[in-house]
Subunit: 354 residues, 4 copies
């Protein structure tokens, strides 16, 4: 399909994820950006809201529209939703019903179980009958399902940083599912472009703070996917922290050997290294850091790459695994475009900086 162009819409194009989608899709060789919606900026030229895009050939004609199901279904074969949870479902369901491919960056269709949604998001799920039809869109883990999906629920930023290093190890039975700890640091763009005193420059600069413990919303999808990989329920400790960078998530995972793996520590760590190396050998967006180097977010910001590295600790017979990603790219918009590429049969890397 390499010569083809797909008409694509972005709903909620003026938040940070939406803006990043605009950036990526304006440069995508197989995309014609046909509709951008924003309630706040409806009627305004995209380049007046985002001067950065003025130089892009495709941007000068674009104007933000009011969101409308009819308009979207009429003008787009694929629609990216960069909306708050709850709101996204109002678009996802009617669009999917009309056969439009929906790539939803919200949490609305990430969970298989409506009760879990209720528990973590504090509200009834708006369309539980669609939960079984949606695909949790981690491209490295579930490419075939993504290729055939109508409704792709693109994962959250923290879950991506935690699941990619952990799922292969759980599937291989190498780590103890009862002793997983995920400690994550996130840049402030993760909080979205919303007027909130807590995310003012002065409140975040020169500040380091944990939040969202013990039950950050992302924990629900993290545990769901880890449980699927494990074959039985997994409960973990997850601690997000807010730190003063614009972009980037750095996750530190504390892992212990599965029972039966604990006897020979060196053998276990070799098995871990082999497992990740094999699993991700052909994945263009997963970069395993070589021995002695640990991930650093500045190596990946602006790109769809996730760096994964590890350090064995013979003293405690435990392993630390680290991952670094750009929360707005691999953790959100880039990964969504990656799923789009898979869904429409394009090269997985089309339009995506590595």
């Amino acid at each position: 399909m390499s010569g083809e162009k797909i008409n694509v819409a972005i709903v909620g194009a003026s938040g940070y994820s939406g803006e990043e989608l605009v950036r990526l899709l304006l440069g995508h060789p197989h995309v014609n950006l046909s509709v951008l919606t924003s309630r706040q900026y409806a009627g305004q030229a995209v380049t007046s809201v985002f001067p950065r895009f003025s130089g892009h050939a495709g941007a000068s004609d674009l104007t933000f529209s009011e969101p409308s199901i009819d308009l979207l279904a009429d003008k787009a074969q694929a629609v990216f939703l960069a909306l708050p949870h709850g709101v996204a479902a109002e678009f996802a369901v009617p669009l999917a019903q009309r056969g439009v491919t929906v790539i939803d960056l919200s949490a609305d269709f990430r969970l298989n179980d409506a009760n879990t949604y209720n528990e973590f998001y504090g509200t009834e799920h708006p369309a539980p009958e669609w939960l079984p039809k949606a695909v949790y869109g981690l491209p490295e883990i579930r490419p075939d399902a993504i290729a055939n999906a109508t409704l792709i629920a693109s994962p959250g930023c923290y879950p991506t940083s935690i699941l990619l290093p952990t799922i292969p190890l759980l599937e291989a039975g190498l780590i103890d599912p009862e002793q997983i700890i995920a400690d994550s640091l996130s840049g402030v763009s993760g909080a979205g472009r919303k007027a909130d005193v807590a995310f003012l420059y002065v409140e975040c600069n020169e500040s380091l703070r944990p939040y969202g413990v013990p039950k950050h919303r992302h924990l629900s999808e993290i545990e769901q996917e880890l449980s699927l990989a494990n074959g039985s329920p997994v409960t973990i400790q997850f601690t997000p922290h807010l730190v003063p960078v614009n972009r980037g998530i750095l996750t530190t995972l504390y892992l212990a050997p599965a029972s039966g793996q604990a006897d020979d520590f060196a053998q276990w760590t070799d098995a871990i290294a082999d497992c990740l190396a094999k699993r991700y050998a052909d994945e263009p967006f997963v970069r395993l850091t070589s021995s002695g180097r640990l991930p650093d977010t500045k190596n990946v910001t602006g790109t769809n790459t996730i760096e994964i590295g590890w350090a064995a600790d013979p003293r405690t017979r435990r392993l630390r695994v680290f991952s670094a990603e750009d929360n707005l790219v691999k953790g959100a918009s880039g990964q969504a475009v990656q799923s789009f590429n898979i869904r429409f049969g394009f090269d997985e890397t089309a339009g995506l900086p590595i």
Copy 2:
């Protein structure tokens, strides 16, 4: 009066200037903080809103109140107003009428002319009859008037950084009043603690931008005071920029010799240096940087000190004068406390970090 304690109130104590007043006045040897008001936090303990203050002996009993003229007049001999312009006058006038000393950090009583207020603030002045009674509270320039004032209009952050270096030079007839340019960089706390997308961490970090040209509101008081120093009207160019620091203003002034001063450049620059050295020899909060060193905001943040330095340019026969201050201390709350000290006869430096 060294043993005395004055009962002091802060109205609008939960913004950045208000919080800084709390910090300074909690440590002030002659102040008993009797009332703190905040509409937003009324009823809450001060230490629950500002955990930083928990260790201060005086803070643990303080609770934010709803603002009330009766309460303030009853409980305080001096009231600091850290309120938006327009709102401040609603407190300043009735409190001053009851004989309470008012130190107003807003712009409401900085201008002598109600028409200028209208021009720059876009609204009728709420109490023009009080303009002649208020004192523009630059402690280094007008200490006697401050000592006897009931209503002190504490200067804005940019004006302080521009006026202190310039007024002595204008008064001495050393610089050309028609060729003054003030180029200023400000940290983001200058925008206040208000929920506004423009001041989110992500919008300010890695961003450098001018704003407020050509008629930033502070220009009105800058030109008023320069005109007074000059003896006739002065019009200047003033360009504020927003840069990613929490605190600090760095001002670069471009100055030319007054007519009659242009013939001997070396003599002129010596006269400039002498003028500033003499004027500020005994001022505890003005630090002239020695030859070869230029001001840097990191030398003054957290303190009430303003650094002033200069560099002569024989090639253009012009002078650059630089100043660095903490916009929340010398540019706002510290300077207000300095005026309070003068007004109540305390040592000018009481409670103020140098």
Copy 3:
């Protein structure tokens, strides 16, 4: 001893810890700063190197000296060493031998065992006979020993943030000593004021990175002190991260119930809260955050306070304990002054911002 002034020297006064000692001791009511040494700046006025201090009465006469044992022993009753490990011992031993009280901020006398020093610092200990005489100077844990010490080894920044929350819980037998994980974020001043590309602004800004795993040097003293509290050897996982702030350490501790404590989770968490509340009820520099609030470094920067908070996780039956400190104050220079206060019988808070 409240009216007394002690003659105090700082060796290595031009690094970040040294500069912070100068700041604190210039404002200390019972200190006369008699000697400041710096090989790099010997002969220069202190205020020319650190313009910030120009306003301090005591600073204007101070000039950096070349370090000399004779000079120090002659002029100072107490000497703070802010030197690299290995170098500190060259001053600590002869000064202590002459009866001068030495407060050493380096690692040279923190460890009881010279072999551990060799293992973690990669060099023979220069004066192993002094190890048993030195006191590991955590003021909240070992005040009596500090009060009588000649050689006080002031703890490292990370250890302080980890030990203060953990030692009481270990001593009370509440937590499992085999399952302690400490995950820490540090500002860049922790790396010292040394010319190193890795700590340039551009290399640290917009970067999040782990380092020093699995055997950061501070691990040696952390485990030593935890083992003492536990009564038997403790081995932990400790992961430091470098994040872009000037100052601050935020530590997240993952803790599990001791055997015998695991049956009733609510009772266990209550016991934890009680234990910390009782232990630190009268400590001026330990602030337990109230329920629902978690520590944030911006609440403590510039002060000697450490905030400690916690969040129980009934799902995993584990506890997260958080601490926030200023790495240069409570984590280094402030804590050293706190030990000095105890040693010389002054109020523990003298000269220290809370």
Copy 4:
């Protein structure tokens, strides 16, 4: 020449400008990166020094070499020099003599006059006979000379931000050449990747400071080019400031009407706007901000675009013109690639983000 690939070398590829050249040239459709030299990293894989580039097809085979004229002349048709001044000439001259196209990012061949070089750089010019042959490579100003040059002296970061807005106005006789003031803010990457305490994170974060007055080295090339545009010598005031961002230069220009232009202010400002609009109508990398919006570095970082905007000030009858660029792209490496594109007949935008 669209199908052709040019063999290109970068000398000094491990500094910030060099790294940025690697980034841009790895993605350039007409470039084969054949040699990268770095004395410091000779023998190491490029991707081990710069993990960011690991995903680029061309990067995995690249290893840093020791710099050698023979190697470079043998393997490259074009050589970019990202070296300190003085060192660059040692490569530029022999390579140009052998017919290799040299694009020099240093200052060595920017000045027409060896005496001016001596005055501003404090050393004899190493190859004054080459000064008349070199082309000052501002692509928007001198495209034809660049197209035919063997030795292109790519402009400095500050000069680019000042010259592009000013040259057209001087050439059109619209502004007074005797009253030009350029006030610039630069991110820290402008100082280069060199171990220097002044550029440590802690020294730059929360700091605003002027430096390099009155005779920053870049002033020499700025005045040279302004003088050429003016037809007679121009002397200006230029004040650089260091501010805490990684990338970006924001320049504020204070301009006055030329004699004969001062009578009708509105007409003058219209003429200014027309002049810039016409001059840059077809330039892909110059973006004039529309009325009411002012340049912001965050709109251009990572791209080769320079934003130019202005604000008239009827009160003072002066104009402020602002420009924003990425100092490493339009201010250094991107502009150098732009010149390369012109020299080799490629589309001017090839390989360059807009």
